[in-house]
């Protein structure tokens, strides 16, 4: 077996970790030539369409499906009453407080609807067109109720209720007080004794995840077994939840996430559509498919963010921060979905950010409104926190007359102070804010930009220049399972991997992570190639199918490399250990005399002899000659529970031009230096940063889900919900510093959400820096040209955007005489 003279294919001495490998999955993902859920065609498959409520809040009078039933190609039509008994309630896996109120979440409305887009009837037909045609024939009578839309209003006592059977619109009241927790001082004291207190109200607007691939689900019954394909980020969690909700036994349910076209947290969900597809398939005994349209997706897939933030910071005259107080109203939407209440709570510990606040208090109220439920969206609670703290630090700097960067420097954790337990009790493992900042200043050309800003100010240039900072950190990898337990999070934080050494020397890595664009197949191959010394091309990564990868907690929260990758590495270590035993036996040496280098076991001091691990794999497959006390296998698996979150950090600097005549803002330059610990694949890291920046900048400048006074989502298409394209975004100057994490063997930190978390406040701070001297104190996000212009004209923050149906929008007035049209009565929308 060692007779071949072929050169070892791990010819390069270059390790895989750190190598900019082109991604294995890209050819099929970018060309689309793969199995997306909607591509699936099964014999006898039926198509579902959903009749959705056009009104935001109403009692359902009657649902007349008779005409729909008669339509050509229609096999069945169901209303809520048909599933009332068996549908149960969609799960909320994170009851953040013991007395949190959960109104119950039907997959299909029975007695009332609570948001536009809620399912009211399901049509089953032989073709997609027939199903779509029959939607028009279902006649639903709605007795409209007043919609609850304004959070501040809804949280008061005497107000309309979103859910009549509840006492108020408040779902929960969550408090974290560092003084009470023993991790910091008392905020009342800190504030009452402070020289300077700055208070602000920020609005973190509602966003829509807007993944590229619309959601789709296919269910195939086989006897009393069910297979579900779904465009989901969480096949493992989905399987457990579906079993609990529908009663289909978990072991008879297989969930498969085939290739999934992006999720961003938007597919981290147990959706009404998945439940309905399963219930219909069960009832009819036939395979069914449901694929949403984009309009449906924007309207009924869960939304993100949507908070009103009251933030107070206390400091002394020299700029040392003394205390931080945060009070949030978070919009749950009409129902609690999988982690709806937990998303804003995830930020609870991040508001103090990188600063050494001695005192901190966080209060959060979850409020029901008649809108689409909110849930995770890239960053999930941490972008909101970073926005609030980075904005208020700038406000404090202005109040104190200090340079915003100097204020940050004065208060941040110095790199020799790590590990540092901050006021919310988290232990930041490592970091170097000084180094990242120095590099970022260099990258953006800071001094020249400041000089230019000065010139433009002095000359009164209509185009002003501003520079904004965001020095962020975030907690990712979700968490150690025990910590999650203490936070009432419904599941754990571990991850699983198993490695199979195939007889021909190829390696199969089965991971519990579920990539939907992140490139895990590439990164895991790199990790394994390094650990086992096998060629990168010889590694195949399997994921996403609960029958193939039976154990895992899927992908979200920037956890996969840090937790899932660590599981892979630990499994690989076990494989090497097992192989060493077998190799020692085959080489007739003691294990201690063996060296393992470049994938090969050799006896120390005896060059020329040796066995590659691939040869060991073949040998143990044959099992003709192996040690007595072992099983004939060198396969291994590992389940890893992190001991801490990981804390990437970075310094982002944005230079922004503001056209004071029109209010148009444009990013002139954007530079960021992110420290994500050890980098496994620089291309993947850069791609994640770019994508994160795009979505963070989008929140600052472009995207907003707007509801009108009747509860209609007026940004119901990409015409109005502005997802920026490459044409709208600047060139990104990115770089990294590397301060390895101490909580995993690779030393890596999460990167998936970092760009989004950091960039939003950098952009807004830059715009304000450009026009503060003209009297502007704040501008609401997104910074539409109109909002910027209004802030410049009249002060204020630019205000609400007028949505059709609101009184701000207005209709026409006409005045005519003698009953005949006059020019004054010419219609035309004059307000």
């Amino acid at each position: 077996m060692t007779l071949t003279e072929e050169p070892r294919t791990t010819e390069t001495a270059q390790p895989e970790i750190g190598r900019a490998r082109r991604r294995k999955e890209d050819a099929r993902l970018i060309t689309g030539r793969t199995t997306w859920t909607d591509n699936m065609v099964l014999p006898g498959m039926l198509h579902l369409s959903i009749v959705r409520s056009p009104v935001a809040h109403a009692r359902i009078g009657s649902v007349d499906v008779s005409a729909a039933r008669e339509a050509p190609g229609v096999v069945a039509v169901y209303s809520g009453r048909d599933f009332a008994e068996e549908q149960g309630s969609l799960p909320c896996a994170w009851p953040v407080t013991p007395d949190m109120v959960n109104p119950g979440h039907p997959s299909i409305a029975v007695e009332e609807v609570n948001h536009v887009g809620e399912a009211v009837a399901v049509i089953v037909a032989r073709s997609k067109a027939a199903a779509a045609d029959a939607v028009e024939l279902v006649d639903v009578d709605y007795a409209v109720l007043p919609p609850v839309l304004d959070m501040e209003q809804a949280s008061t006592q005497d107000t309309d209720l979103c859910h009549a059977h509840l006492e108020s619109n408040t779902s929960f009241h969550f408090v974290f007080d560092a003084g009470d927790a023993g991790t910091g001082g008392d905020t009342d004291e800190a504030f009452s004794g402070a020289d300077v207190v700055v208070s602000r109200r920020f609005v973190n607007q509602r966003l829509i995840p807007a993944f590229m691939e619309p959601r789709s689900v296919v269910v195939q019954p086989q006897g009393d077994n069910y297979t579900m394909w779904s465009a989901t980020q969480i096949p493992h969690i989905l399987r457990v939840m579906l079993a609990m909700v529908t009663g289909v036994p978990e072991h008879k349910l297989r969930v498969i996430a085939p290739d999934v076209g992006g999720g961003f947290g938007g597919k981290l969900q147990v959706t009404p559509e998945e439940v309905l597809a399963l219930l219909v398939a069960r009832r009819l005994g036939k395979p069914v498919k449901y694929t949403e349209t984009r309009s449906e997706s924007l309207m009924s897939a869960h939304h993100g963010r949507d908070q009103i933030q009251y933030v107070d910071v206390a400091a002394d005259r020299e700029g040392n921060v003394k205390g931080l107080r945060v009070r949030l109203l978070a919009d749950m939407g009409a129902y609690l979905r999988l982690i709806t209440p937990g998303t804003p709570a995830l930020g609870a510990f991040m508001y103090p950010a990188i600063y050494k606040f001695p005192a901190y208090r966080f209060e959060l109220k979850g409020i029901f409104t008649n809108k689409t439920p909110t849930d995770a969206y890239r960053g999930a609670g941490r972008p909101e926190a970073t926005f609030a703290i980075e904005r208020i630090m700038d406000e404090l700097a202005v109040e104190l007359g200090m340079d915003p960067l100097e204020l940050r420097r004065k208060n941040w954790i110095k790199h020799d102070e790590f590990p540092f337990t901050m006021v919310a009790g988290l232990e930041y493992d490592s970091g170097n804010y000084e180094a990242a900042t120095a590099r970022a200043l260099e990258l953006i050309g800071y001094d020249e930009l400041r000089a230019e800003q000065q010139r433009r100010r002095e000359s009164g240039d209509p185009v002003q220049l501003g520079i904004g900072f965001s020095t962020f950190t975030e907690m990712c990898g979700i968490a150690p399972s025990r910590v999650l337990g203490s936070l009432s999070f419904g599941s754990g934080g571990w991850e699983h991997a198993s490695i199979r050494m195939l007889p021909t020397g190829k390696v199969e890595v089965v991971t519990g992570a579920t990539p939907h664009g992140q490139g895990h197949e590439t990164a895991w191959s790199q990790l394994v190639a390094d650990k086992l010394g096998v060629p990168f091309e010889d590694v195949e990564v399997l994921h996403g199918d609960t029958s193939i990868s039976p154990k895992g907690l899927d992908t979200y929260g920037s956890r996969s490399l840090v937790v899932g990758g660590t599981a892979v590495v630990k499994a690989a270590d076990k494989v090497v250990a097992k192989a060493r035993k077998v190799a020692a036996h085959l080489l007739e040496a003691s294990e201690d005399d063996l060296e393992f280098e470049g994938g090969k076991f050799s006896v120390r001091g005896t060059p020329g002899t040796g066995l590659s691990i691939q040869e060991v794999a073949l040998a143990i497959f044959a099992a003709h000659n192996y040690p007595e006390d072992v099983e004939p296998s060198i396969d291994a698996d590992a389940t890893f529970d992190p001991v801490n979150f990981s804390f990437p950090h970075g310094t982002h600097i944005c230079a922004m031009e503001v056209d004071t005549e029109t209010g148009m803002v444009k990013i002139r330059k954007y530079a960021c230096v992110d420290d994500v610990g050890t980098i496994v694949n620089p291309l993947i890291v850069e791609g994640q940063i770019h994508g994160g920046l795009a979505q963070g900048i989008a929140q600052a400048l472009y995207e907003e889900a707007v509801y009108d006074a009747d509860g209609n989502l007026t940004t119901g298409s990409f015409v109005d919900y502005l997802v920026p394209s490459a044409a709208d975004l600047p060139h990104f100057d990115t770089d990294n510093t590397v301060t390895p994490s101490t909580s995993n063997p690779m030393g890596s930190k999460g990167v998936g959400e970092a760009g989004t978390i950091a960039s939003t406040p950098a952009v807004v701070n830059a715009a304000l820096d450009a026009v503060r001297h003209l009297g502007v104190t704040d501008i609401r996000m997104p910074l539409t040209p109109e909002r910027v212009w209004r802030a410049l004209q009249t002060g204020g923050d630019g205000g609400d955007r007028a949505a059709a149906g609101t009184t701000a929008y207005g209709g026409a007035s006409t005045e005519s005489t003698t009953g005949v049209s006059t020019p004054a009565s010419n219609p035309g929308g004059i307000s």
Binding site: V51, V55, N712, G716, A804, G811, T818, G829
Partner: protein
């Protein structure tokens, strides 16, 4: 959204009030509307709205929810559903009359709510449509109220001839609709008159068009009941509209452009012969071209137009009958 329209009509307040409460006179003021049924203070029907490529039909019901005679205030609650499931439209229309001597000022305040597909666009398509619908509604309502209990068209300047002529025909038909009695003939008369009036309203809109287009397709105001034979007594081209059979309504002496009054071939004079059918036809969409063409009306209300009108109305009648299922 809130829409406001105001106008003044040259009739005393009580008369204007009476007309306001007359469903069959005011419901068709909503452009593109087809009245399906009337029951007490409620009526059902359809409103078809066409705006460029967009084509929506709302089906629903409206009722008087308030009729305060002392305060001269009426409130109509209208709700409809789009026939293709594109959402709903609801309008709460408050009409407030104020006496100003021998004239009456009418303020119409509408609370319009649109849900579903048209509301999902930030450009507020339906607001433009809402504005137009309510503006036209107000204009037509003004015409109705301005004519009071009795049709009393005055000869107007030539510029308004077409409108007035058609208005006259409307009045005739309107008064025919007042025909009392529960007998079949009376009912038929009322329905045919309703048809005639709407046709005349359509004619008023049509009056703006250049002659060449007179043969164009039918717009606006659909009919309910069947007009009968075009051979029915036609009044002299210069003469007044023939009074509807058995109605005590006063004869009309409209302006010289009165050939429009030859609506009567379609009208009640021949009414008894036919059984009125409930409207099962699709309502004609309001063509917002017509709406916008208001300013051009004055230009085209020429006698030539009137002759074309006669031709048109006959064509209308014939086409209607042919197109009925």
């Amino acid at each position: 959204m809130q829409l406001e329209n105001s106008f003044t009509v040259p009739v005393p307040i009580d008369e204007a009030w009476r007309v306001l409460l007359d469903i069959e006179r005011i419901a068709p003021c909503m452009p593109g509307a087809a009245l399906d049924s009337v029951e007490g203070d409620s009526f059902t029907g359809r409103v078809k709205v066409k705006l460029g490529p967009i084509n929506l039909t709302y089906q629903g019901k409206a009722s008087f929810v308030e009729k305060d005679e002392a305060a001269h205030r009426a409130v109509i609650d209208g709700r409809g559903k789009d026939q293709r499931g594109n959402g709903t439209a609801a309008a709460l229309i408050t009409a407030q009359l104020k006496e100003e001597g021998a004239t009456t000022r009418v303020d119409v305040l509408t609370d319009l709510n649109i849900t579903g597909r048209p509301a999902q666009f930030g450009r507020g398509v339906m607001t433009d449509v809402g504005n137009k619908l309510l503006g036209q509604f107000a204009d037509k309502l003004a015409t109705q109220l301005g004519q009071g209990d009795q049709p009393a068209a005055e000869p107007g300047p030539a510029a308004k001839a077409a409108t007035t002529a058609a208005g006259a025909a409307e009045e005739v038909a309107a008064s025919a609709e007042q025909v009392p009695g529960e007998g079949a003939a009376a009912k038929t008369t009322r329905k045919a008159a309703g048809a005639a009036r709407k046709t005349a309203a359509a004619a008023a809109d049509k009056a703006a068009k250049p002659a060449a287009e007179a043969a164009g397709p039918v717009e606006a105001a659909p009919t309910t009941a069947a007009p009968t034979t075009p051979a029915a007594p036609v009044t002299t081209p210069a003469g007044p509209a023939a009074t509807p059979a058995s109605t005590p309504a006063a004869p009309v002496t409209p302006a010289p452009a009165a050939p429009a009054a030859s609506t009567t071939p379609a009208g009640p004079a021949a009414a008894p012969a036919s059984t009125p059918a409930r409207s099962t036809e699709e309502p004609e969409p309001i063509d917002l071209l017509e709406v916008a063409g208001g300013a051009a009306m004055a230009r085209y209300a020429a006698p030539a137009g009137a002759a074309a009108l006669l031709l048109l109305l006959i064509t209308l009648v014939v086409r209607r009958r042919r197109r009925r299922r």
